[in-house]
């Protein structure tokens, strides 16, 4: 993988993907169309079932029908529920209308993925399908990807390990590794669609080749526009956005922050070449400063 080159000259293709050569597969992803989501959470359940994700407690939040709250190590699909006094279609006069927005959130499988860039062990890698996956036998739980992700997707699993537990001499039971959506890498390998898309009863979650999904999304946006839907917008569809386009993008009915998504995410490593140069200058100044201060004083 030539990550340095990708860093200096970001390409349209996912970082690291080109390394597969002949074994490269078509880039696949999700188009999550929230305008047809009914909040059934079949995706959450199917994801947990297929990927054997452990139960991590149930908390009553009082936040509409959402007791899952966020994506984390033990939740790779999360359905958000937003209740608004606003009509679904047309402006309304503010006195009528109630809409209930639902959105099934997931890892975005970014074209330029900060988690993959900052991972110090190479545990996070780009698959032949252009997706981003954690290798659980490599991850040492350093946690760097957790604050690096602009969407807050990755998290460390703090509950007891269900597979591959830490050695007894450490006296720890906690899993301690980072987990996230794999876009069902195992299912893709077997020629199946991911579990969440398979389970979705309304085709809110659509799986397929990314290029095809983008065309489908454009058509859907045009249709909703024609019908006058409030706030319809695609999120993460443009390959020229701050992360080079999402592998899993969305059709939203309000601004991203309403769903707990960042309005203009940028891959942090975009600024890394500048940061390294700056650090070298600081290191040089430290070397020179300490030496000069020490030598000058000693001559007196």
């Amino acid at each position: 993988m030539n990550l340095l080159q990708d860093l200096l000259e970001p390409q349209a293709d996912p970082d690291g993907w080109e390394a597969y050569g002949d074994e490269q597969k078509e880039r696949v992803g999700f188009f999550t169309d929230t305008s047809v989501c009914i909040g059934c959470k079949a995706c959450e359940v199917a994801c947990k079932e297929w990927n054997v994700i452990p139960e991590d407690g149930r908390i009553w939040t009082g936040e509409s029908y959402d007791h899952t709250s966020q994506l984390d190590a033990n939740t790779w699909r999360h359905v958000a529920f937003v209740e608004q006094r606003k009509p679904l279609v047309g402006d309304g006069d503010g006195s009528t209308g109630l809409r209930w927005l639902m959105e099934s959130d997931v890892c975005k499988h970014c074209t330029h993925a900060a988690c993959l860039d900052v991972c110090p062990t190479g545990s996070l890698f780009r698959t032949e399908f252009g997706t981003v996956v954690v290798q659980q036998d490599i991850c040492n739980g350093c946690g760097y990807c957790v604050p690096a992700c602009p969407f807050g997707v990755l998290d460390k699993r703090h509950i007891e390990a269900t597979t591959d537990p830490p050695p007894a001499f450490l006296g720890r039971k906690e899993d301690g590794r980072v987990w996230k959506c794999t876009l069902c890498y195992d299912r893709l390998k077997g020629g199946h669609e991911p579990a969440c898309a398979k389970a979705c009863p309304t085709k809110s979650i659509q799986f397929g080749p990314l290029e095809e999904l983008r065309e489908r999304a454009d058509a859907r946006l045009a249709k909703l526009e024609g019908e006058g839907w409030n706030g319809a917008q695609l999120y993460g569809r443009d390959p020229e956005d701050g992360v080079g386009g999402f592998g899993a993008f969305f059709l939203l009915l309000d601004d991203p922050e309403v769903y707990g998504l960042p309005p203009d995410p940028v891959v942090t490593t975009r600024d890394l070449p500048e940061m390294w140069t700056n650090m070298l200058a600081a290191a040089g100044a430290l070397l020179a400063g300490v030496t000069v201060l020490t030598l000058l004083g000693s001559r007196k």
Partner: protein, 319 residues
């Protein structure tokens, strides 16, 4: 319009929801999962890196006592550092996975390599100094640790800046410089504690200069951060920032005024500066958590960027 009914009389979620520009006030980016070992390592790593440089510079200046003591201080800090880092890992037994790859896009990966080189070199040099043997090897090891020291002391600034945490990422221009100045201050302060006042002149000067430079750099960073930087004046980060300033300035003043006469003053002054530098690393660490916890920092900084440059994250209908 009638408000939806609620037993407790508070506005219902439905009513609040129409105004809400966040998802129930929940964070957008995740707080780091790093624990106390990490800010402590930022201090010990900085101390190790700058002490290696101080040791070699003192040797060039013919100040053998300062050179030796700074070498030992740096070696001890270099030994403690990897223990802290391994202890923080979710899977400590896999610490060596850090060395599976060399990866320029990961400050933690390159930092691990720098620490390996710096730690190996400085402990070798210190051991040979103690044994008083194999001088050429000792000198070679000293040179290596001197060159690895400044990157070790400053890369941690890039490590935190290379994240999605607003207060860290937007502080990327100053953080490596602040950490470098803080490292210089702590190396000077630690040497002032362990070297007799007569030979510790350069160390005291370094401590004072480091504290002054760091004060100016922190101000510069806060100016640039604007509203995002308010976390440095709130909560735990706010208290730690005050502690950092108070302790380091008091210690530097004591070193400057009394450090050349009294060993006791040098020890107390040096300890105060070290405590101040440790507090500074903790202030930066905690500020990151506070910045992640409130979604307004992510939303407001990105909205401001959108107002200036537009965005391609969202695609709206053509009309």
């Amino acid at each position: 319009m009638t408000e939806p009914f609620r037993l407790d009389g508070k506005p219902s979620i439905t009513a609040v929801g129409s105004e809400m520009r966040s998802y129930y006030g929940r964070p957008i980016v995740k707080e780091p999962v790093w624990t106390w070992e990490i800010p402590t390592y930022f201090f010990t790593g900085g101390l190790a890196g700058a002490s290696a440089v101080l040791s070699s510079a003192a040797r060039l200046a013919g100040n053998r006592k300062l050179a030796r003591r700074a070498l030992y201080i740096g070696a001890v800090a270099d030994l403690v550092s990897p223990m802290l880092l391994v202890s923080d890992l979710g899977r400590p037994e896999r610490f060596h996975h850090m060395f599976r790859v060399v990866k320029v896009t990961s400050p933690m990966n390159l930092g691990s390599w720098v620490l390996l080189v710096s730690g190996g070199a400085s402990t070798t040099a210190a051991l040979l100094q103690l044994l008083d043997r194999w001088k050429p090897i000792r000198i070679a090891a000293s040179i290596v640790s001197t060159l690895a020291g400044p990157p070790l002391a400053t890369y941690t600034g890039v490590l935190v800046a290379d994240t999605a945490i607003p207060v860290w990422h937007e502080g990327r221009h100053e953080l490596p410089w602040i950490f470098g100045a803080s490292a210089a201050a702590s190396a000077g302060a630690a040497a002032s504690m362990f070297v007799p006042p007569r030979e510790a002149g350069p160390a005291r000067r370094l401590a004072v200069a480091g504290v002054l430079a760091e004060g100016a750099l922190v101000q510069a960073m806060e100016l640039r951060l604007g509203k995002i930087g308010e976390v440095y004046h709130q909560g735990e980060a706010g208290k730690l920032s005050w502690a950092a300033k108070g302790l380091s300035v008091a210690g530097a003043a004591l070193l400057a005024r009394r450090g050349h006469k009294s060993r006791a003053a040098a020890v107390v002054g040096g300890a105060l500066v070290c405590a101040g530098e440790l507090s500074l690393r903790w202030a930066v660490f905690k500020a990151g958590f506070q910045s992640a916890r409130d979604p307004k920092y992510v939303v407001e900084s990105q909205r401001r960027r959108i107002e200036q440059d537009g965005t391609k994250a969202t695609t709206r209908p053509a009309s």
